[in-house]
Symmetry: C2
Subunit: 259 residues, 2 copies
């Protein structure tokens, strides 16, 4: 597949089923987002959960209940068809991984778009900080921590983090750059000793590939969008729909722009 020229073009390719792959490293500099669709009766709890946990769950936009179209600045897109792949959960069980959720969208569905770390991978590279996993389209290693998130109504669960290990002279720069992007999970939640987050062994992540840990590098941990993806299916909700890992929604606005 050739690279699309704009988010709008990519979303058209996706809606026509011509693009079904992941979106890491695609259209550098545009705001990418995780998706979570929940029933209206869980929507207040989930929006409150996001507000109480803005680092793992930075809200970029929320649809009006029942309306599958997200509108934010120049972006106007039907969430049922403009992500490359989805995951559908019913009462906590994964029931489908479709490329279109038209059949699953309901009158009471509310769609949440939460910022993701793809947002700052471009700015990090520009700042001279290598992001190894992005180059080969691999996800970073992801760990479930022993730190609880702030619960809201029926929603609770542990903080999940992603890890990148950087040489000492780049650690502060990586903090500076990522701190500028709250919709990319912002600055790290923890730097250094993994035990501080209850992570016993860096070489066995809960998700993603084991990291290559070069001597002299320091592990840096950022809040991760997997956090709500663990919490939501466990909520007892009748249904929850999320994006498929790495297959994100891309907005029309640049990450440095207020939409």
């Amino acid at each position: 597949m050739s690279a699309p020229a704009s988010p709008q073009e990519l979303r058209k390719l996706i809606a026509a089923s011509s693009w079904t792959g992941p979106t890491a490293g695609v259209l550098d500099g545009y705001q990418q987002a995780n998706l979570a669709v929940v029933p209206r009766d869980l929507a207040f709890d989930f929006l409150l959960y996001c507000n109480r946990n803005p680092k793992p769950c930075p809200v970029v936009a929320v649809t009006d209940p029942g309306d599958p179209v997200i509108r934010l600045g120049r972006t106007e897109a039907d969430l049922r068809t403009t992500l490359p792949r989805y995951r559908v959960w019913q009462r906590g069980e994964l029931v489908a991984e479709p490329t279109d959720i038209t059949a699953y969208w309901r009158d009471d569905s509310v769609g949440f778009l939460l910022g993701c770390s793809h947002t700052w991978e471009g700015p990090l590279r520009t700042a001279g900080v290598p992001v190894p996993h992005a180059a080969d389209s691999m996800a970073p290693p992801v760990y479930v921590t022993d730190r609880p998130t702030h619960p809201a109504g029926r929603l609770s669960g542990p903080l999940v983090v992603s890890m990148r290990a950087l040489p000492g002279h780049l650690v502060a720069r990586a903090v500076e750059v990522t701190a500028r992007y709250p919709t990319g999970h912002g600055a790290p939640v923890h730097i250094g000793d993994p035990a501080g987050l209850g992570i016993a062994d860096l070489s066995t992540p809960d998700f993603g590939p084991p990291p290559r840990l070069e001597p002299g590098t320091v592990p840096m941990f950022w809040a991760c969008g997997v956090t709500p993806q663990l919490v939501l299916p466990n909520s007892g909700a009748e249904y929850v729909i999320t994006h498929y890992a790495g297959h994100m929604f891309i907005f029309d606005h640049h990450v440095d722009e207020t939409p």
Copy 2:
């Protein structure tokens, strides 16, 4: 009244009705907040409205429905008694301005605490930027603009702004300092020509005293917490409770601290 030593002490004085005055310039450096209490059936719309309009409505904390106690970091306080004065609206009509809302709190009440510009008045003074109205406990002039906010469900209305006029050499500094405090409404939404916001005459604000406009100063406009106070009573809600202007909730955390 002598100055309280801590937010906790001030809240005790308020709960004992020993403090009934405004909170501007009190306990510099602590996060102050506007209050809005709405019925559960309006809570999702209002939280969404705040998320879509973070500059006028920066959410600091939200109670669990029915629970009058706000918990955030070290702060634990009963919202019914720990603000100096309130306003109670029923179906859009102002019905009371009590110093205690115990009689008005209901099983379906949800309390929202939204950051306010008192938050950055201390940092501005520290940075050498004078904030004239704070010195004499006066509110800034406030204007209703012709710019609509982003609606959410039953909630819509114009953006309301507060104005401070500063000499040219302090304008950029004031932007830098206030931008650091999203829970104080962040950076200005507009600088210079009032007509750009549909304000015909600076000398006749919609709320607050007329400004003294020194020659060579530039008007700077920040999103204002009056925005939701106009929107909420007009929503048709059975009831809405807000703080009385200038009579804020004070948290236990400093504005530079993550609670």
